[in-house]
Symmetry: C2
Subunit: 441 residues, 2 copies
């Protein structure tokens, strides 16, 4: 027999049942909260026309794309969920109501060099609100409100949603007359947490900035902290550039609205250092960090964009969206030992008919339990009782019910707790009630 | 602007929100019942090594495969969920407990010529039970038991799970000494419902069968109907071939067990005409048809196989599995007008703060409703009240709560039913209770 490699491809996450159950638990929390906030989940094909995807990106992303031909078709696997959303909204515009709210939790593909925490196939969990021609700034506060809810529930410790507004930085660049080299400046400023002040100055001098320009930049990057300190400090810079002032106003409003919408103040911060998606985002931007694990970087990012689908339609579609990279987050938490697997099977109860004579009764019991919301595995294999319990043990099921001749005759069931070994003898109704009380969902 | 084609690729299903919600409702029923029966949902990469997939298939399936290279890798999109399962079980064998039960609901890819009801990207909803070295025949009865539960709940009318056993046909071929041309005979027999008896005989004569062989085949294919008629009729053929007799015995046992497990007799039938997966399945086989829509063909198929992963491991892994082709089923039901869409949004309630002054109160209300399990969309766009209701109408939300200055001051909320126009004035707690009573999940 030729030896065929049975490992999943490099960069593709493949989980064992216990891990998968935990991954799905996290995924369901995200999915459910997206629903609670009225985001309808959509589904678009994984395969798109290569031209559709390439309309919007080039460079590294284009190189990473899984692109191929089949027949006459030039195809590619989607590398994010935003470009397919743009195509979807452009295509179905007249059948949608705006502001259009959609959630999408699905896999995307990037042929990156595999490395720890980087995946070639990974889940993104996106929500976006798209306006037709216009979209209220209030939605910029709603997106982090959803994220706040989700990470509270995921319960991986204190987190901070960092908020900024791209207009502030762009306005500052205009103000100091450095728009031309803004991307270079931002690249330097992005390193602020990793380099010394002197190195920062040296790097800025390398860009031929004047002392005056550098002084203003340093004043600017020194501003941080909660909104009620950083926003006044920004105004104190006395910059009268309209873009800058507009950005500060927007950031102020978004911060105020987030509080009104119920985001606790200590869970978000204005952070002028974040400048993600230089080309794509045009206003509010977000990043989210776990306070106790800053090394993970941003675990959830997004922002406001002026026009979702300019490549596909002339209708202006401003939007705001946010995305959780669940595969990466799961993998990172796992390597930190923060993923607790609690079960290796979805089954809550394992029913064991001791012979085919008891299958009918076992099925009756399983049916009653399932109708009450309990997940039941019936062990139909014929094997000695010892092997049965060994199976239950390996399976990691919490409760076992053995049905032999005696149990079948009496209509009484013995339920055994696999952890403690405790046994209870109950009739059908009591067994269902008992199971619901300890397991029911 | 270059005009970019924004339609989804041919053969890829893309749904509008109302349809997507209905699709997801169906999908969730399948997913939940798989869970109730203790099948843990797994996830494997969409991309596999081409050699992994090609180990098991050739011919048409291989041609339809989306295969391409990226860097040095010869890759392909999975065309089913069974081959990836085989790889998964071979790879992780020592970490799994057998009988191993897994569910997998995910997309697969086949580059077929697009035509009505055929898709290039489609959902399969699979369950399989895999034994290590052996697997009790009782699991052959459990798979249709799950399917019975699901289609009862999906509620698309009366259905019939047709059951057969490949050994019967194979044994018959041995008996009449026609093993060599068995595939050709089966191709003819497969057409039985579409051609006349004379055509059937003519086709069989073309295969150089003797009158005696043909007589036996005709006797055989004439047998149909419920298990308690067809199984005795099979025995009455007096065929002493061990494979044949073993197949009849197995079919008898599976039929008996299905009844004991709670499948109503009128929902399944022994059907000797079904012979799916000639190479793959080795024992029990299933097809499921909607009685009122026989034209749809089989909407759920599967069977028993001797060895899941012979290409990847020397350990013998017998299994039994069944698969629902949900994309195709949905599309077929849709073209029959049987898909009822009931809503265009997941939101149950739309809350409308009339200005930013009421956002705080609207958020409080939304929070309380969401905590009670209600999906709430808060309309944050500033627009005249008429436009707001036009949005609610287009969105198709059932209930609307307007919050103006007065409502905010009094702490009383007016909830309006969009269909009837009925209004109720309630305080926060009563509104939550009311919403749960009519919408709660």
């Amino acid at each position: 027999m030729t030896q065929i490699n049975t490992r999943a491809l490099p960069g593709m996450m493949e989980l064992l049942p216990a891990e998968q159950i935990e991954f799905d638990r996290m995924r369901r929390i995200v999915e459910q909260e997206y629903q609670r906030f009225g985001f309808t989940q959509l589904d678009t094909p994984v395969l798109e026309r290569a031209e559709t995807l390439l309309a919007k990106v080039g460079g590294e992303t284009a190189k990473q794309m899984y692109r191929f031909t089949k027949g006459d078709n030039d195809l590619a696997l989607r590398f994010d969920l935003t470009v397919p959303l743009a195509r979807y909204v452009a295509e179905h515009m007249n059948d949608l109501s705006f502001p259009f709210r959609r959630a999408h939790i699905a896999k995307v593909y990037r042929g990156e060099r595999p490395q720890a925490g980087r995946f070639r196939e990974f889940y993104q969990c996106d929500i976006d609100v798209i306006g037709r021609e216009e979209l209220s700034l209030s939605y910029d506060a709603e997106a982090p409100r959803v994220i706040y809810q989700i990470f509270k529930q995921l319960d991986f410790g204190k987190f901070t949603i960092r908020v900024n507004n791209r207009k502030i930085l762009n306005g500052l660049m205009e103000h100091i007359g450095a728009q031309q080299i803004a991307p270079d400046i931002l690249r330097v400023v992005d390193k602020i947490e990793k380099i010394t002040r002197d190195e920062l100055v040296a790097d800025l001098l390398d860009l031929s900035l004047t002392d005056e320009q550098i002084e203003m930049l340093l004043k600017f990057v020194a501003i941080s902290g909660p909104a009620d300190q950083s926003l006044p400090a920004l105004r104190d810079l006395d910059i009268d550039n309209p873009l800058f002032v507009g950005g500060v106003d927007e950031l102020q409003q978004v911060a105020d609205l987030m509080v009104q919408m119920g985001v606790e103040r200590e869970y978000f911060a204005v952070d002028l250092a974040i400048a993600r998606g230089l080309d794509y985002y045009t206003g509010t931007v977000y990043e989210t960090v776990l306070d106790e694990h800053p090394g993970l970087g941003s675990i959830c990012s997004g922002g406001r964009y002026d026009d979702l689908a300019s490549y596909y339609t002339n209708v202006k579609l401003p939007g705001v969206g946010i995305s959780i990279g669940l595969t990466r987050l799961f993998s990172q938490l796992q390597s930190l030992g923060l993923i607790q697997t609690s079960r290796k099977t979805v089954a809550d109860v394992l029913v064991m008919p001791l012979s085919d004579q008891q299958i009918s009764q076992a099925s009756q019991l399983a049916k009653s339990l399932r109708e009450a919301g309990i997940n039941v595995d019936v062990l139909l294999a014929e094997m000695p009782i010892k092997k049965r319990f060994a199976y239950a043990d390996r399976l990691g099921v919490a409760k076992v019910v053995v049905i032999g001749e005696q149990e079948a005759a009496q209509g009484l069931f013995t339920v055994q707790d696999m952890a403690s070994g405790d046994k209870k003898q109950l009739d059908l109704d009591s067994l269902v009630q008992y199971s619901v009380s300890i397991i029911g969902r």
